[in-house]
Amino acid sequence: MQQLTHLDRLEAESIHIMREVVAEAQRPVILYSIGKDSAVMLHLARKAFFPSPPPFPLLHVDTTWKFKDMYALRDKMARESGMELLVYQNPEAKERGINPFDHGPLHTDMWKTEGLKQALDKYGFDAAFGGARRDEEKSRAKERIFSFRNAAHGWDPKNQRPELWNLYNARKNKGESIRVFPISNWTELDIWQYIMKEGIEIVPLYMAAPRPTVERDGLILMVDDDRFPLKPGEKPVMRSVRFRTLGCYPLSGAVESEAATLPEVVQEMLLTTTSERQGRIIDRDAGDASMEKKKQEGYF
């Protein structure tokens, strides 16, 4: 008897899901957001299809406002994995100069929600891997691993297909596409442990380091480039900070921390008990059911 650990079994399940998609979908793609969950998903994809490179491209729906470190890691990982990297930026958002400072929620809506829909339509992808986890948020706890979207990319939580055993029904109706979440059953702690166990490279922003920051509305924001509009008299202050989640740098709140190594980050996470999305402004937009609403509208 060989006891498989929880990480062994989570890994096996995720690999099984990815292989099912490749066997049954016409044109799969991996949505690569460069965060730690994406990093784990990409690593799992490489393991699933080894020695072949994963038989699908990486798609980054870019907002032009990610951290510089994120762009650097993205390009490096694309090179290392031997996968094609597709970067999509919503042309309308670009033209109108949509940015997180002046446009609030419209920024996420146009660059991310609309950008994603446009990118999927443009390339005709019928199955897109996403790194969402069920422990992240309440509406995700009920979402299937194979989650169908109608032609307008909307999600209907009342009309989900039952998923039994490890059998996935990947048959689509006309116009439908599938979001597939291979790491649905992983928790944040699982992700960190797996990153450590497998030595997966992640964006250094997850570890504490002195960084130029300002404080706004109770969030510590990093001044990652000179597009950051400083208020009169406002001066970036060097603080030792790290990030729990990474998105657009003007929307990602940092936490003050001295945890400069992975084990220290996990230690801090377990002891400070502040959940992962706390540093992300996006969930606060529309009160409690905001993520569910966003998903119905087509946000990933």
């Binding site: 650990t5 079994r9 393991k47 959940s275």
Partner: protein, 644 residues
């Protein structure tokens, strides 16, 4: 009571490396919680999450605010709000779908499938149970065993869950009464033994106050001698580990061919273990080979076990692709095309016996038809739970037994031996919805040692000797649309071109082969199925087959299409509007139908589903039969003999 937290803060603070080491080696248990609406299920799960620190600070702040706003517990924290996720159900105050939760203790990580209690959601419970090692059945101590309790226990047992926990909740509301607890356990034991549950673990708990959740016995239940809920969950055997003891099976998901020198077979090991050098058999072909290597990105493995996703390479160049099962050579699984199975119907649309559905089992997808049910199992009426009811079909949430026939043999095991090779889903071919879950009991026609023989004189030889490519010209349309007229003309023209053909129509089928069939929906489906089978045999014999039947249902036409080789089925839609066909009324049938003398008449009181993408469409209001026949022959010649 000791600290209710399952996480050792001290170890985390002092030696994080040691803590992580400890937690990397946890095992994984999946379990299911079920109970009636007010049994306190969400509260219990909320507490497990809360005590194991799976709730973080800001969620907690939101929870406290929510508890005051919409909670049902006054100023106290309402744990149920943590797990009732979707906005709609929070408004109704009930959970409506299966949700997955996660928590961990020092020894194990747990995935909890949280399923709702009301009976219309049987399908959610079945979904949650399909992956669970254990079921926690909640009972309100004040109410004792309810019909729901029996139903949930029955379903958990049916889905092969071997560990049942009877959690008698709300003990705080009955003053932790020992006798009351023991009476409930005795009642449950009588029932459980009756349905074949051999053992269960009963635990008196309070979800609100935490009695016997982490430690047992609690101060209030000093009389209780069993384990705490957590202790039991941490020590029970995991099904996945048990599967290692059985024979090796790997359903092949995907063939990995990065270059000509490498051919790997990827899949999740369903049972047993494997090592390089072992002899394996590819099922259903029966070919044998030897495992060369177990390939991973981290190097080759010395051996692999059930539950691992692997890539195998073999010593020999054998045919093996998605849908095949690689098994240990001396004990391969069975192959058959007819089974008895238990079905759980999950769709608003009832089962139509005889209709073709997609059946997916492990990595195999085939067309399957379900015969008229043998019986439905009563899971609703508590007085006769498990008794058999005679039914003609299955509706949403019904559970019953029926015979299933697949269009080609599949590799399987009994569900009780293997969830992976004994459990399947049925998918509607038109809506693509998952309509049923099935569990195989046994095969009805044993084909264990009969490997599909390629006949020496095959369909190609039959066709070649006739100098033609076989095809099935499937004419569909309303009664009186002109199907037979056009089909007859087409056959004459084909004959004149020296082609071997045969026309199947109502006259030669209804009076002979199908004279036992009437005009109900089920009979019409069976009629078409038989016509399809005959057409397939004739196509195998190399003939060009013409069929002229109303064949009103899209699903049946698609079923026949799926029986035949790619491109062989040519659907011809003889498109005549109802008023035109009725005005013609060659056989006087419309008149009779309108007068109520003919029941189930297509177009009048039975629907006609027009083809969406027929290969050929004939508009009979624009085209004469002669022109239509020319057009079809021309198209056909183009399709099957480009050199003619």
């Amino acid at each position: 009571m000791t600290d209710p937290s399952y996480v050792t803060d001290a170890l985390i603070a002092e030696d994080i490396e040691a803590y992580l080491e400890l937690h990397q080696n946890k095992t994984l248990l999946r379990f299911l919680t079920c109970g009636s609406v007010d049994d306190g299920k969400s509260t219990l799960i909320g507490r497990l999450l809360y005590d194991s620190k799976m709730i973080f600070e800001d969620q907690l702040a939101a929870l406290e605010a929510d508890s005051k706003k919409v909670g049902t517990r006054g100023q106290e924290i309402d744990f149920a709000l943590l797990v009732d996720g979707l906005a709609a159900e929070r408004e109704q105050g009930i959970t409506i779908d299966v949700a997955y939760r996660f928590f961990a203790t020092e020894k194990r990580k747990f995935i909890v499938a949280d399923t709702p209690g009301h009976e219309q959601y049987t399908r959610n419970m079945v979904t949650g149970a399909s992956t669970a090692d254990l079921a926690v059945i909640l009972i309100d101590a004040r109410k004792g065993i309810l019909p729901q309790t029996r139903r949930h226990s029955y379903i958990a047992h049916l889905l092969g869950i071997r560990h049942i926990v009877l959690a008698v909740n709300k003990m705080d509301l009955v003053e932790y009464d020992r006798e009351l607890f023991e009476n409930i356990v005795d009642d449950y034991k009588d029932f459980a033994t009756g349905i074949g549950i051999e053992e269960f673990t009963a635990i008196p708990i309070s979800g609100v106050f935490g009695d016997n959740i982490t430690d047992a016995p609690s101060a209030n239940t000093q009389w209780y001698e069993g384990p705490s809920l957590i202790h039991h969950l941490e020590t029970v055997e995991i099904a996945n580990t048990a599967a290692q003891a059985r024979s090796f099976r790997l359903p092949v998901q995907w063939v990995n061919r990065p270059n000509l020198d490498f051919r790997g077979f990827a899949g999740l090991i369903a049972s047993g273990e494997i090592a390089p050098g072992q002899q394996v058999r590819i099922v259903p072909s029966g070919k044998t080979s030897t495992v060369k290597a177990i390939v991973t990105m981290d190097g080759e493995l010395e051996h692999a076990v059930a539950g691992q996703s692997v890539t195998l390479t073999l010593e020999d160049e054998v045919d093996c692709s998605r849908g095949d099962v690689i098994a240990i050579a001396d004990d391969p699984p069975q192959v058959a095309d007819q089974f008895e199975a238990t079905l759980v119907w999950m769709s608003e649309e009832a089962l139509i016996p005889g209709r073709g559905y997609w059946l997916k089992l492990a990595t195999q997808t085939v067309t399957a038809t379900v015969a008229e049910p043998k019986y439905e199992i009563n899971v609703n009426d508590p007085s006769g739970l498990g008794s058999h009811l005679a039914v003609k079909s299955f509706d949403l949430n019904s559970i019953g037994v029926a015979e299933i026939t697949t269009d080609r043999p599949i590799t399987f095991e009994r569900y009780e031996d293997s969830r992976q090779l004994g459990g399947f889903i049925l998918v509607d071919k038109i809506t693509n919805a998952t309509v049923a879950a099935g569990m195989i009991h046994f095969s009805l026609r044993r084909a264990q040692n009969v490997h599909w023989q390629a006949l020496e004189v095959g369909r190609e030889q039959h066709a070649a000797i006739k100098g033609q490519k076989p095809a099935v010209l499937w004419f569909t349309g309303l009664s009186g649309s002109g199907k037979s007229t056009i089909a007859n003309l087409v056959e004459k023209k084909l004959h004149a071109l020296g082609k071997h053909s045969f026309l199947l129509d109502g006259d030669n089928i209804r009076h002979g082969l199908n004279k036992d069939l009437g005009f109900t929906e089920a009979d019409r489906i069976e009629n078409i199925r038989r016509v399809g089978e005959v057409a397939k045999l004739m196509a195998d014999a190399g003939l060009i087959v013409l069929t002229a039947f109303i064949s009103p249902f899209r699903a049946e036409r698609e079923m026949v299409r799926a029986m035949l080789a790619q491109g062989e089925f040519i659907e011809i839609f003889v498109d005549t509007p109802l008023n035109v066909a009725e005005a013609r009324d060659v056989k006087g049938l419309y008149k009779k139908a309108r007068a109520g003398e003919l029941k189930n008449f297509t177009g009048i009181d039975s629907p006609y589903e027009a083809p969406e993408a027929a290969e050929i469409r004939i508009d009979t209001t624009q085209t004469t039969p002669e022109d239509a026949a020319d057009l079809i022959v021309e198209r056909l010649v183009g399709i099957w003999t480009p050199d003619l």
